[in-house]
């Protein structure tokens, strides 16, 4: 059963398109990763869906949830979706919380908005949520301000706040990027645990392929405002078929095996104002052929649950090294 269905989502700022038609369906309770480098549109997709982009953004397409289109809803309606049906957490937790309001009040605000609780029960619920996300001494900590928490704790507070409205979907936008390694692991662990406990669907936006593979069943790789490959995480990562996805894996240094030279993707991400003709990745692509430079490939089903937007996908011969690793997983 699908929870949210995005079709043909486009976003333009000042006449410059940054999102070129995203089709993406999130099933109930499903965890989907959105992977890509900065500027690929992975965050913009969800900010657009929730109406959180600045007013100058021109948005097209549809974002359907239970028969209603979030993009055409009046503001009062979309405000009832935010936090209650779809909650979102962000990259830098310390600046994502209001610095002059006690964290308890920030959590309570969300509870009061979406749960119709009042008085002491709001407070009790806030404490329960803070306990749930693993903040010790929760009842006392409710009275602290964000600057009195560490970065990791602030991200826990953000998660507690996101859970306050009992949402069906949590959109986590680079939730661990700004945190230290050992704290990243804690937050990933918390997100996975909460998902298991509450059955909440998850969209995990990250440039970290490793983190996505640990949290999500399905992943979409984005490049220059398009989804260029998607499929079950294990399959996709074992055998990427799009040259860009493959390039991302090759570029990723490894913690095991012999130390080796890095394998970069040459060139840079295209400027949205000057997109190359044809496939946006073609100028950097080692397998590009003549038609790649003038034909825009559409996202099409490759086999079963895998989709790819490439005129010349890589063959499905085993990508030796990675396959070995996934055999373990």
């Amino acid at each position: 059963m699908s929870l949210v269905e995005i079709t043909g989502l486009t976003v333009a700022f000042d006449g410059v398109r940054v999102l070129h038609g995203i089709d993406l369906t999130i099933g109930k309770g499903e965890a989907v990763g959105l992977v890509g480098e900065s500027g690929c549109g992975k965050s913009v997709t969800w900010l657009a869906a929730l109406g959180l982009l600045p007013q100058k953004a021109r948005i097209g397409g549809r974002v359907m949830m239970e028969g209603a289109d979030l993009l055409t809803m009046p503001r009062s309606e979309i405000e009832k979706v935010r936090g209650a049906r779809i909650a979102m957490i962000f990259q830098d937790p310390s600046s994502a919380l209001n610095p002059i309001i006690r964290v308890g009040r920030q959590i309570e605000e969300a509870i009061a908005l979406h749960r119709g609780l009042t008085g002491a029960s709001v407070r009790a619920e806030a404490k329960r949520l803070l306990d749930l996300v693993g903040i010790p001494d929760a009842s006392r900590r409710l009275d602290n301000y964000p600057h009195e928490f560490s970065g990791g704790q602030n991200q826990r507070v953000m998660i507690a706040m996101a859970l306050a409205g009992n949402p069906d979907l949590l959109v986590a936008d680079e939730p661990t990027t700004a945190l230290d390694a050992t704290i990243q692991a804690q937050i990933l662990d918390l997100i996975v645990r909460l998902r298991n406990e509450t059955g909440l669907a998850l969209v995990f936006i990250s440039h970290d392929l490793g983190a996505v593979s640990q949290v999500c069943e399905r992943a979409c790789v984005m490049y220059a405002g398009r989804i260029i490959e998607s499929g079950p995480t294990a399959e996709l990562f074992r055998q990427p078929r799009h040259p860009y996805t493959n390039g991302l894996f090759e570029a990723l240094p490894r913690l095991d095996g012999p130390r080796r030279r890095f394998v970069p993707i040459e060139g840079t991400v295209p400027d949205p104002r000057h997109m190359p003709a044809g496939c946006a990745f073609s100028p950097r692509c080692r397998s590009a052929r003549e038609n790649c430079h003038h034909t825009q490939p559409a996202l099409a089903t490759l086999s079963g649950t895998r989709q790819i937007a490439c005129l010349h996908p890589l063959s499905d011969s085993p990508a030796s090294e990675r396959q070995r690793d996934f055999a373990v997983a």
């Binding site: 936090g83 994502a96 919380l97 209001n98 006690r102 706040m161």
Partner: protein
């Protein structure tokens, strides 16, 4: 907190002492009070007698010491001109000045802050542009130009309000407007930029993302943060309640503290000038202190102190 207050009060006292000293130096350097008050044509004996009776013959450091100690005792001396107590002279002018500055302050806050918020929320709209143009005009136009302009339009051409004096409340309208409009423009500009800065912060997006209605995001999340820099400006305006009307009072022949200051300076009436300067510096210092304390209330990050 007590230590903080003590520190701030000590600093405030030093500031006041510096202002008083500065006043003494400037006034002494700029002319001989005996010659100005008695006129240079007076007989030399009269001048000598005047100097003797006011202690102007003593070495300058003795005069300064005497002056300073007297101030500490709360004795601000008598006007050299008519022998009245300086404090009384000044105190009697205060209500007239407040009649202008308090309504002007209300205009500044009541007009400037809402206009700034509105402009920020409707960035690049027609109203935003009008507010910004108004702010630039109000910011750059000296108050005597604005005052003259208002007099020209409303007193001379339209004849709606009188151009000077203090007889009825109608007389207060033009000076209050002159004072208030410029300040409102400044405040609108500051409020707008503070709001724009805050509206771009990630926590505003967070508040929206958790479903808080936009009006409540602005009221409950954005404005309290934006008010922190705005408070500084308002504090400065409160600090100039007693003395911010020097030009306007002179222009509209309004018998307030500012006009007294102008005439006393012209006359080298030291005691009165010193008394006014003391009043100005104390109000300034007190309002600064209040702003500092208010900061701590508005911004919890300042309460627990700076982390390194």
């Amino acid at each position: 907190m007590l230590r903080f207050l003590a520190l701030r009060v000590a600093r405030a006292c030093i500031t006041v002492a510096l202002v008083v000293t500065f006043a003494f130096i400037v006034l002494r350097l700029s002319g001989d009070p005996a010659l100005i008050i008695l006129s240079p044509d007076s007989p030399p004996e009269a001048i000598a007698a005047f100097r003797k009776s006011w202690g102007l013959d003593d070495p300058i450091w003795q005069q300064y010491l005497r002056y300073f100690l007297a101030i500490i005792r709360g004795d601000l001396g008598v006007s050299m001109r008519d022998g009245q107590s300086a404090i009384m002279l000044v105190a009697e002018r205060i209500p007239a000045t407040l009649q202008l500055t308090i309504p002007a302050l209300l205009i500044k806050i009541g007009l400037g802050i809402p206009a700034g918020i509105y402009a920020a929320l409707h960035r690049n709209s027609a109203i935003d542009r009008i507010v910004m143009i108004g702010a630039i005009v109000g910011f750059t136009m000296p108050s005597f130009v604005l005052g003259l302009l208002l007099v020209l339009i409303f007193a001379v051409i339209l004849g709606w309000f009188p151009s000077g004096g203090q007889d009825t409340w109608m007389h207060a309208i033009l000076p209050v407007l002159t004072l208030g409009v410029g300040g409102a423009a400044i405040l609108a500009r500051f409020t707008r930029s503070a709001m724009l800065e805050v509206l771009g912060q990630p926590y505003i997006r967070t508040a929206s993302a958790k479903g808080v209605p936009w009006a409540r995001v602005v009221r409950g999340h954005a404005f309290p943060n934006a008010s922190i820099p705005v408070v500084t400006i308002v504090g400065f305006m409160v600090g100039s309640l007693f003395a911010g009307a020097v030009v306007v009072e002179s222009l509209f022949a309004w018998p307030g503290v500012g006009r007294l200051l102008v005439s006393s300076v012209a006359n080298r009436d030291l005691a009165v000038v010193q008394c006014i300067l003391l009043l100005v510096s104390i109000t300034m210092v007190v309002s600064n202190l209040t702003v500092d304390i208010l900061y701590g209330y508005l911004d919890p990050r300042l309460r627990t102190g700076g982390h390194t």
